[in-house]
Amino acid sequence: MVSSPYFPLVVLFVVALGFGLAPLGLAWLWARFFSPRKPNPVKNSIYECGLVSKGDAWVQFRSAYYLYAIIFLIFDVEAVFLLPFAVAFTGLNAAACAAMLVFVLLLVEGLAWAWAKGVLTWA
C-alpha cells in the first residue's frame, strides 16, 4: 500500500482534514469545558435586528415571487436593447424599425399573458 503512487495523496488528504477539523474541535472543547453558559430566552431568540422575533425562521416563500423576478428580467433585458435603439432611431431603416417593433411586441405579449393569468395581482 505504501508503494502505491496515490499514498502521498491520502496522507495529504488526512492532514488537510485534520488541519480543518482540529481548530473546530479545540474551539468546541474550549466552549464545552471552560465557557460558563448563560442562556436566557432573550439571548436564544431569533436575531431580527433587535426586534421581537415573530414565528419560526424556517418559513417557506411563495413560488409566485419567482414570476415577478422573471417578468422583471424581461423588461430589464428590454431596456438594454431599447437604449441603443432610441439613440440610433433617426438613422434606422424601416426593416430595422420593424424588427425592433416585433421584439417589443413579443415582450408586450408576454406581459399581456401574465396579466391575463392574474400574475400581477397580489393574492
Binding site: S35, P36, K38, V42, G50
Partner: protein, 204 residues
C-alpha cells in the same frame, strides 16, 4: 500575579519572556475586540471615520464590525437612543455572547445630550445596560473613540480571571439577562434597570 513585575522586566532584558496564562488570555481578548455594526445617529459617522484609512481602527484589532450580535464583543452605542429604539438596543445587547462590553459614545448615549429634555429621548443607555467606557463629545472625534478603545483594552488587560473581581462572563452566578424595557403610556417600563443604574445623588 504569579511573578513579580520587576523580575519580569529584568528577565525581559536578558531575553527571557515570561507570562502568565491570565495575561496571555487577556492579551488575546483585548487584541480582537469585534464591535457590532450598528449606528444610531451622527456619532456613527465618526465611528465610520474611525474605521477608515486615516484613523485605522484595525491597528487595535477592532476593524471587524460584525453585522450579528452573536459574533460581536463590543457594542458602541453611537448616538441618541430614543425611547423607541432603547428596547432594540437592550435586546441586541442581550443577544451578544459573553464577554461583552459597551462604549457609550457621545453626550446623547451618556445622558441624552442636547435632547435630554425631549419627551422621546432616553437619558443615557447606562439606565439599562452596564457601560464600560463613556466618551463625551458631540460627536466625539475619532481620536476620542480610539482613546475609548485603549481604555477598554486596558480594562480587559487588568481583569483577573479568578477571584472575587473576575468578570461577569467567568462568574457562573452573575446576571446574564438584562430586562428589555417595554413601551408604556408615558415612559419605558421599567424606566431603568436598578441592577445597573441608580439615580445620581445631587450634593448641594
Amino acid at each position: 500575579m504569579a511573578i513579580e513585575e520587576n523580575l519580569k522586566i529584568e528577565l525581559g532584558k536578558q531575553g527571557v519572556f515570561v507570562t502568565t496564562l491570565e495575561e496571555l488570555y487577556n492579551w488575546g481578548r483585548r487584541s480582537s475586540i469585534w464591535p457590532m455594526q450598528f449606528g444610531l445617529a451622527c456619532c456613527a459617522i465618526e465611528m465610520i471615520a474611525t474605521t477608515m484609512a486615516r484613523y485605522d481602527l484595525a491597528r487595535f484589532g477592532a476593524e471587524v464590525f460584525r453585522p450579528s450580535p452573536r459574533q460581536a464583543d463590543l457594542m458602541i452605542v453611537s448616538g441618541t437612543v430614543t425611547k423607541k429604539m432603547a428596547p432594540q438596543v437592550v435586546r441586541l445587547y442581550n443577544q451578544m455572547a459573553e464577554p461583552r462590553y459597551v462604549i457609550a459614545m457621545g453626550a446623547c448615549a451618556i445622558s441624552g445630550g442636547p435632547f435630554k429634555q425631549g419627551y422621546n429621548v432616553l437619558k443615557g443607555i447606562d439606565r439599562y445596560i452596564p457601560v464600560d467606557v463613556h466618551i463625551p463629545g458631540c460627536p466625539p472625534r475619532p481620536e476620542a473613540l480610539i482613546q475609548a478603545f485603549m481604555t477598554l483594552q486596558k480594562k480587559i488587560d487588568e481583569q483577573p480571571l479568578t477571584g472575587e473581581n473576575r468578570p461577569r462572563f467567568l462568574n457562573q452566578n452573575a446576571q446574564g439577562e438584562f430586562p428589555v424595557p417595554e413601551p408604556a403610556d408615558h415612559d419605558l417600563e421599567p424606566p431603568s434597570n436598578p441592577g445597573v443604574w441608580s439615580a445620581p445623588v445631587v450634593i448641594r
